[in-house]
């Protein structure tokens, strides 16, 4: 026993400080680049091919595989790996606004928090990263009803933020936690040119995950990004209240939503071909799948706000929670990718067109989102028009060479 312990300890001690050589090599090269940038206050725009990061490659591989079956994207948690959240689209920002306020311009201040060091580089459109970013934008457009807002491969690690390729509008959406339906670009290049952003976070910045940033729940980092946009891109924004078509979600049949029991469970969804079956879901987790012609959403002990956020993409409009349900619920929803309007009701003008390139699954008769919500959870999805806060780019400049 003692001998075995010695052997294991010796084995551990001989290995425990030996990271893989490639990790040391990568670290050295990345840091040299970063320090050099920091030393010369690198602000210049450098046109150079940017090798995609590992997650970016993975996302791209997934995108390619799923493109082969038209549009299929595996979505975990809050939408695609980095779709901009709808954190602001709840009652706190929308419902309390009165209709009379539509058209009003609200003041907007820029935060003073700053990254310790940041570099901004233009991504060549013909580069691998540039091409991928364009395709991601197209995919995002198809899925969410508006382009931009998809910063594939973005990573928020302890002390560092890396965005491999994102448009200025996407960076604005990330920085302000804005939905792509409620952000308006300025010049055309703000939605077509992609920039790589690498930044060091100052010591003491709270630790957030990439998911936190994607959900708009990394306020310190978001404020630093706001400052970077104001400094490097001379970005000037304004907030406006505009009447927009939205969906409201309310209780139609009381008693159908039940509090989540205290247990673990498996999501009742089938992943796209090539993806592993989802593991047991812990409390507070949710998965979303977009498959050809259908959506699958599954949640375990999540809040109504999580469900509402998950509905944003299939609904292709902002969804407002009007249920008043404050507990945690479970759901497994499967519905067709299109939302037929209720009989006799035309979509309000300005509504994003429904996806036409996603065909229904042959031989199946799936419920619509509206019916699935009514049948399983007793919830009512209704069209409404409401004043919504929209972020408008007033002026922006390409980052100048320093």
């Amino acid at each position: 026993m003692n001998r075995r312990t010695d052997e294991v300890l010796n084995q551990f001690l001989s290995e425990f400080g030996n990271p893989p050589e490639h990790a040391i090599e990568n670290s050295r090269e990345n840091l040299l680049d970063l320090f050099a940038s920091s030393n010369v206050q690198l602000l210049e725009v450098v046109e150079m091919p940017v090798p995609p990061t590992q997650p970016f490659r993975f996302a791209w591989a997934a995108g390619m595989a799923l493109a082969a079956v038209l549009v299929s994207v595996l979505v975990w948690n809050q939408g695609p790996p980095f779709s901009v959240s709808t954190a602001k689209n709840d009652d706190r920002t929308v419902a309390k606004l009165s209709a009379e306020e539509a058209g009003v311009t609200l003041p907007l201040t820029v935060a003073q928090d700053a990254f310790e060091v940041a570099s901004v580089k233009l991504v060549a459109p013909s580069s691998q990263a540039g091409t991928m970013a364009q395709r991601f934008d197209q995919m995002q457009s198809l899925l969410a009803g508006c382009s931009s807002g998809y910063a594939g491969g973005t990573r928020l690690d302890p002390g560092r933020l890396t965005v491999p390729a994102a448009t200025v509008l996407t960076l604005v959406m990330v920085a302000y936690g804005q939905d792509c339906l409620t952000a308006e670009a300025g010049p055309a290049w703000a939605t077509s040119e992609h920039y790589e952003v690498s930044a060091l976070l100052p010591a003491g910045t709270p630790r957030y995950t990439t998911q936190d940033l994607a959900k708009g729940e990394a306020p310190e980092v978001q404020r630093m990004l706001q400052k970077l946009l104001a400094d490097r891109f001379r970005l000037v924004l304004k907030r406006e209240l505009r009447e927009m078509p939205v969906y409201t979600l309310s209780v139609g049949t009381p008693g159908k939503i039940k509090l989540s029991p205290d247990e673990t469970r498996l999501p009742n969804v089938s992943p796209p071909p090539g993806f592993p079956p989802p593991a047991a879901m812990g409390r507070g987790q949710n998965v979303n799948f977009v498959l050809p012609g259908k959506h699958q959403l599954s949640g375990h002990a999540v809040s109504m706000l999580t469900l509402v956020k998950s509905l944003r993409q299939p609904a292709r409009r902002i969804v407002i929670d009007r249920t008043g349900f404050s507990g945690l619920l479970d759901y497994d929803l499967e519905f067709s990718s299109e939302i037929p309007p209720p009989a006799g009701a035309a979509d309000p003008p300005g509504t994003a067109p429904l996806p036409t390139s996603v065909p229904p699954v042959p031989g199946t008769s799936l419920l619509s989102l509206r019916d699935a919500l009514a049948e399983q959870l007793g919830l009512k999805l209704e069209v409404a028009k409401m004043p919504v806060e929209v972020l408008v780019i007033q002026s922006v400049e390409r980052p100048s060479e320093n």
Partner: protein
């Protein structure tokens, strides 16, 4: 302009003394950090912190006298801060998605490995430093004693006790 040429041009602007120091000691600092944190991502973070501080300030006299010993202490302290911060953020880590783990170790199961990393982090700083210098950097007793400004016999006793503590930890159910 290719990536390589852009980097080369940028690097011309880096202080040659700093660059020399960085290239010479990067792997040493990285291994030290990794041996304490057990995570590649954290090791990267520590190296960045240590050298960024140097880049921002004048080189301290201690560094000029014995760069290795200075960088070792700096890496050790930064890595311990990471561990403490990790403990504070334990709940976040559980909820988080991206916690890059160390590669698997043949012959040592994941639980034991994690427990041993934790046990090293719990050792007295000097004991942990001695352990790391011995097993990660292959220093002999005399070199360790010189680096830490102590005696050879103190190092030997400390190593013996640290090993005993780790073994005790491993035997606990």
């Amino acid at each position: 302009m290719s990536t390589a040429s852009v980097l080369k041009e940028i690097q011309r602007n880096l202080d040659p003394e700093f660059e020399r120091l960085f290239r010479e000691h990067h792997a040493f600092v990285y291994r030290t950090a990794y041996s304490i944190t057990g995570r590649l991502e954290d090791a990267d973070d520590v190296v960045q912190t240590v050298f960024l501080r140097l880049l921002r300030r004048e080189f301290p006299p201690d560094l000029t006298k014995n760069p290795k010993a200075y960088l070792y202490r700096a890496a050790f302290n930064a890595a311990v801060s990471v561990i403490r911060s990790r403990r504070r953020n334990l709940v976040e880590s559980i909820d988080g998605v991206d916690v890059p783990a160390a590669p698997p170790m043949p012959g040592v199961d994941e639980d034991t490995r994690r427990e041993l990393y934790d046990a090293i982090a719990e050792l007295r700083p000097t004991s942990a430093q001695i352990l790391i210098l011995r097993y990660v950097h292959d220093y002999d007793l005399a070199e360790i004693a010189k680096t830490l400004g102590t005696t050879r016999s103190t190092v030997a006793v400390s190593l013996f006790r640290s090993r005993a503590r780790l073994k005790k930890k491993m035997r606990k159910p």
